[in-house]
C-alpha cells in the first residue's frame, strides 16, 4: 500500500494517431514495468479491433513504479480511456477516477477535433493538465505554433508543456517528472469506511468478472465481503491486485490506488460502470455521485447469413453480453432473414465493434438490418409500448401518436466548415439551440431526432468537415412527431428487414433515395424488378431495375473449362452471401448501404 502523497493517477488525452499509445508504451518502458523483451507496440490495446482501428474501447490501466529525481518512490497509475462518443459515459467515469491528464498533441499537426472533446472532459473532471507535444523528431514539428493553439483554442496554460518524441524516447523522463511534480496526489480517508468507484469491468475466462476500481476511502483485502451499492449485491473478494500491465495480486488496496478485484462474479452485467463498492458491514452509506447506468439507444437485427449458424450466433452473443453490460439482445424472427437477434447498442461504433467481433472471433457471417431507435407508441386506449423494431409497428389505426427520442448534440467545428455542418443538422430535422465561437472554432448546439443521427450522421459529419468536427450528444427525452413506417417492396415482396420509421415529411425523399440505392445494390436478374417504397398501401417511390441482358459472349474452348468452372463456384459462393426474397437475390451490404442517405 502506498501513501496518498506518493500516488499519481492520470490519463492521456489525444486525438487519434497523435501518439497516445506510443507514449504509454514509452512510459511503461522507461519505468521498466515490462521487460524489454516483452514489449510489443501498443501494449495497452488488447483487442484486435482496437489495434486495427487505433482506438481504445474498454478502459485499460497500468501501474508504474517510478523513482523520481528527488529520490522518492512513486506509484503512477495510468488509465487509458476510450475516445469515442458512443462511450462518452465510460470516458467521463474514467476521468473521475484520476486527478490529472497528459494532453498529447502531435506537434506536426496541432490541435484537432477529438483533442477538444476529450480535453473538455478532463477539464470537467477538474484535472490538472500537462500538455505534451509529441513527434518533435519529425521535420514538420512546430512546437511554438502548437503551444499557441493550445492556449488559444483550449484555453489552458502551455508554458509547462513538454516536447517529446515518443518514438525516440526524447523527453519521456521529463514527462514522468511532471507527473510527479505537477499533478496532484489523490485525496482520501485511509481510516474511513471502504469506498471505491467501479471504473470498468470485463470477463476473464479463468477469473470470472474482473472489476477495475479506484479506491476513494478505506482499504480492501482479499476475503472481505463487498457490496455494490446500486443493487445491494454482496460478494466475497477472491483477490485484489494491480496491473503492470499484466494482472499481479496484491495484499491490500488503499485510498488513491487503482487496481482490480475479482469476486466470483459471473456476469459483467452485474457490475455497472460508475457504481460505488463498499464493505458489506460497516460500509459507506452515501454512494459516489453521478451513477447513471448506460442504456442502449440504437437497435438493429443481427442475423446469420447461413441460417444453420443461428445457435452459434446465440452462443457468441451471450458470451459478448456477459462482458458488456450496455449491449442488450432478444431473439427476433424475420420473414426475410429467418431467426436472429434484435440487439441494442450505445451507438453506431458500439454496433460495429460488436458485429466485427462476432464475425471475427466467432467466424459467423452476419446480416445487419437497418439501425433504429426506440419509439414510444401511444395507443388510442391510453397505453404505451416501446417500439424497438419497425417490423413490430402496431396497426396505425390503433395508434394515437408516436414519440421519438431527441438528443442535444454539441458540435465543435472549424469556421470553414460551419455552413456544411448547419446544413447537415438542418437536413436532419435539427433545431438550433446555440451557436458560439472559441477562437476560429464554432460550437453549435442542436436539438436533433436520434433516428436522424443513427444512420450515418457521424460519417457525414466527418466527411463534410474532413474529420475536423468533434461531436458529442446526450439524450434529451422524447417528443411527439409525425412518424410513419415506410416499407420496402422488391419485386412486389415486402422486405421486412428494410422497413423503417421516418418522418412523414421526409418519407418521399427517403423512399426515393432508398429505391435508387437498392437499384444500384441489387444485381440485375434475368427479369426486371420493381423496387417500391410504401406507407401502408400507398406507394411513395418506385424504381425499376431492368433485366440483365447478357452475361456470356466470350469464347470458351478446351482451355477454359477449369476457369469457367471456378468462376461459377465463385458466383455460387457470392450468391450464398445474398438473401432470397421471392426470386430476387439481395446482397448483404444492401441492408446497411441502402440506409445511408447520400454520399
Amino acid at each position: 500500500m502506498t501513501q496518498l502523497s506518493h500516488i499519481r493517477n492520470f490519463s492521456i488525452v489525444a486525438h487519434i494517431d497523435h501518439g497516445k499509445s506510443t507514449l504509454a508504451d514509452r512510459l511503461i518502458q522507461e519505468t521498466q514495468t515490462v521487460a524489454d523483451r516483452d514489449m510489443k507496440a501498443q501494449l495497452l490495446d488488447a483487442m484486435d479491433i482496437e489495434r486495427e482501428r487505433g482506438i481504445t474501447i474498454k478502459a485499460n490501466t497500468v501501474r508504474l513504479d517510478y523513482t523520481a529525481d528527488n529520490g522518492e518512490k512513486y506509484v503512477l497509475n495510468l488509465i487509458d480511456t476510450p475516445g469515442h462518443v458512443d462511450f462518452a459515459y465510460e470516458v467521463s467515469r474514467s476521468m473521475r477516477a484520476v486527478e490529472g491528464s497528459l494532453l498529447v498533441v502531435d506537434s506536426t499537426q496541432g490541435v484537432e477535433a477529438q483533442t477538444l472533446a476529450n480535453v473538455y472532459q478532463a477539464i470537467d473532471a477538474d484535472h490538472e493538465i500537462v500538455p505534451v507535444f509529441n513527434k518533435i523528431d519529425l521535420p514538420a514539428s512546430d512546437v511554438d505554433r502548437v503551444a499557441e493553439q493550445v492556449e488559444d483554442v483550449i484555453g489552458i496554460d502551455a508554458s509547462g508543456a513538454i516536447a517529446v518524441s515518443a518514438k525516440t524516447g526524447q523527453g519521456i523522463h521529463e514527462v514522468l517528472e511532471a507527473i510527479v511534480n505537477v499533478l496532484p496526489a489523490p485525496e482520501g480517508d485511509p481510516d474511513g469506511p471502504f469506498k471505491a468507484m467501479l471504473v470498468d469491468s470485463w470477463y476473464d475466462a479463468y477469473l470470472g468478472v474482473v472489476v477495475l476500481i479506484r479506491v476513494i476511502d478505506g482499504h480492501l483485502k482479499k476475503g472481505e465481503r463487498i457490496k455494490f451499492m446500486s443493487n445491494g449485491a454482496v460478494y466475497p473478494v477472491d483477490r485484489v491486485g494491480v496491473f503492470r500491465p499484466a494482472m499481479q495480486n496484491a495484499d491490500i488496496l488503499g485510498p488513491g490506488e487503482i487496481g482490480f478485484l475479482t469476486a466470483s462474479i459471473k456476469q459483467v452485467r452485474d457490475t455497472r460502470v460508475g457504481d460505488t463498492i463498499t464493505h458489506e458491514k460497516k460500509g459507506a452509506t452515501v454512494p459516489l455521485p453521478g451513477f447513471n447506468p448506460s442504456v442502449p439507444v440504437v437497435f438493429c437485427g443481427l442475423f446469420p447469413v447461413d441460417s444453420a449458424e443461428f445457435e452459434d450466433l446465440r452462443d457468441a452473443i451471450e458470451k459478448l453480453a456477459l462482458n458488456d453490460a450496455s449491449f442488450s439482445y432478444e431473439m427476433e424472427t424475420s420473414a426475410a432473414l429467418g431467426f436472429g437477434f434484435r440487439c441494442g447498442f450505445l451507438g453506431l461504433l458500439h454496433l460495429e465493434v460488436i458485429r466485427d467481433r462476432i464475425e471475427r472471433e466467432y467466424n459467423i457471417e452476419l446480416i445487419t438490418t437497418a439501425p433504429s431507435v426506440v419509439y414510444h407508441v401511444f395507443m388510442k386506449d391510453g397505453s404505451m409500448t416501446e417500439l424497438h423494431n419497425p417490423a413490430d409497428m402496431p396497426d396505425p389505426s390503433t395508434i394515437d401518436h408516436i414519440e421519438e427520442p431527441r438528443i442535444k448534440a454539441t458540435i465543435l467545428v472549424p469556421d470553414d466548415f460551419l455552413g456544411d455542418v448547419l446544413k447537415l443538422c438542418q437536413d436532419r430535422r435539427g433545431i438550433q439551440l446555440d451557436l458560439s465561437y472559441a477562437g476560429s472554432r464554432a460550437m453549435v448546439v442542436y436539438d436533433l431526432p436520434l433516428n436522424e443521427v443513427v444512420f450515418d450522421f457521424y460519417d457525414r459529419l466527418k466527411s463534410v468537415t474532413k474529420g475536423y468536427a468533434s461531436f458529442d450528444y446526450q439524450l434529451e427525452g422524447y417528443r411527439e412527431d409525425n412518424l410513419v413506417k415506410m416499407s420496402v417492396l422488391v419485386n412486389d415482396e415486402p422486405v421486412d428487414a428494410l422497413s423503417m420509421m421516418v418522418h412523414r415529411d421526409r418519407a418521399e425523399m427517403r423512399g426515393r433515395a432508398m429505391c435508387e440505392k437498392l437499384k444500384d445494390l441489387i444485381p440485375r436478374h434475368m427479369f426486371k424488378i420493381p423496387i417500391q417504397a410504401a406507407i401502408g398501401g400507398k406507394v411513395i417511390a418506385r424504381e425499376t431495375l431492368s433485366a440483365l441482358r447478357k452475361d456470356v459472349t466470350a469464347k470458351c474452348y478446351g482451355g477454359d473449362a477449369t476457369r469457367k468452372r471456378k468462376l461459377l463456384d465463385k458466383q455460387k459462393a457470392g450468391k450464398k452471401k445474398m438473401r432470397q426474397f421471392g426470386k430476387v437475390d439481395i446482397p448483404q451490404e444492401a441492408f446497411i448501404s441502402a440506409l445511408k442517405m447520400d454520399n
Binding site: 441482358r549 447478357k550 478446351g558 473449362a561
Partner: protein, 386 residues
Amino acid sequence: MLENWQNGGFSIYLHWPFCEAKCPYCDFNSYVSASIDQDAWKSAYLREIDRYADELPGRVVQSIFFGGGTPSLMEPSTVQAVIDRVATRFSVANDIEITLEANPSSVEASRFSDYRTAGVNRVSLGVQALNDPDLKRLGRLHSAAEAVRAMEIAQNAFDRASFDLIYARQNQSVSDWTAELKQALTMGFSHLSLYQLTIESGTAFGDRYKRGKLGGLPSEDDSADMYDVTVEMCKAAGIPMYEVSNFAAPGEQSNHNLIYWRYGDYVGIGPGAHGRFSHPERTRTATETPLSPAKWLQAALAGRDQETRQLLSAEEQGVEFLLMGLRLREGVSLDRFTELAGQDLSPNILAELESEGVIIRRDDQIIVSDQYVKLLNAVLERLIED
C-alpha cells in the same frame, strides 16, 4: 466408371505459344520471342505425342487443332511431323479434321499451300476487324485488304475455312457492326467465330480499363443488341448459330471445338495447354501444363511428365458438362449429366426454368431457349443451385 469419352469424341490440341506481337485484348498464353528453335519444338511435340499415345492406347483421333499463339508461324515441316506422328501412334478417323489457326497476313498466306500439303484441311483466320483503324487499335499487324486476300487464298487452299471477328469494340455502334457483319457474310465462308470484345485482366486492355483509360466501349444494352443482330443476320445468311459465338452452315461446324463442348476427351500439348480425358478405370482427369514455353520445352525434351493432373469429382464433371454443353444449340443430355455427376439435376428447378421459358426440354435433352443464350451464366447458376 463408364467410358464416357465415347459420347464426346477424342482429339488433340497443340499449343504454339509464339506471336509476332502481343495483341492488347489477348489473354491467351502467348509470347513474343526473337529466336525460336523450331527443331527443338518439333522434337518436344513429338515426344509428348508419344507419351500420350502410350497412356491412351486404342483411341481414335477425330481432330487435331493447332492453336496459339500464332501457329501460322510454325514451319510447315513441323506441322507435318506432328500430323505424321499422330497418325503413326494413334488410329485416326477417316474424316479427321486438322485445323490450324493463322493470321491473315501476306507472309503467312504464302505458306498456306505448304500447310495443306502437310495435312492441314481446315484453317481458322484471325481477321478480327474489316477496317484498318480498328485493326490497328486491336494491335493487329495485317491490313483489311491483306486479310481479304488471305481469306481468298485460304478458301482455295483448304477444304474448309473459317474466320474470327471481334465486335462490340471501342466506338463501334450497332449499325457499324451490322455493316461490317454484312460485308463479312458476303465472303462466302461457311463458318464464322464472332466474339464480343471482353476485357480480361492481365492484358493491356485490362490495365487500361482499370485505369479508366479504355473509353468508348458499348453499353450493355448496345452490346446485347449487337449480339441479337448477329444471331439474326447469320441465321438469315444460312450459317445459324450453333454455339454461343460460333456460326456455321449445316455440317460445317468445327468438329474439334464440338468435342470440347460435347465434353469429349482431349489431350493438350504445349505450354499452358489443358486436357480432359478418361481412363476406363479412373474418373476424368484434367491436365494443365506449365505456362512458360522454356520450362515446358525443357521438360518435354527430357521426356518428363510435366502437367499437373487433377481427378475431377463427379460434381465438377457435371458442372463442366453443363457449362460447356449448354453453349451448344443442340443442348445436353440429362442422362449423360446424371452419369457424369452421379445425381440428377433438380426436377423442380428444371420445371421452373421450363415454365419460365428459359429452357426447352426435348425428351432427354435440355436446350437453353434463344432469348436466354446470352444469359447462360445466370441460367447455369440456377441449374446448379444447391
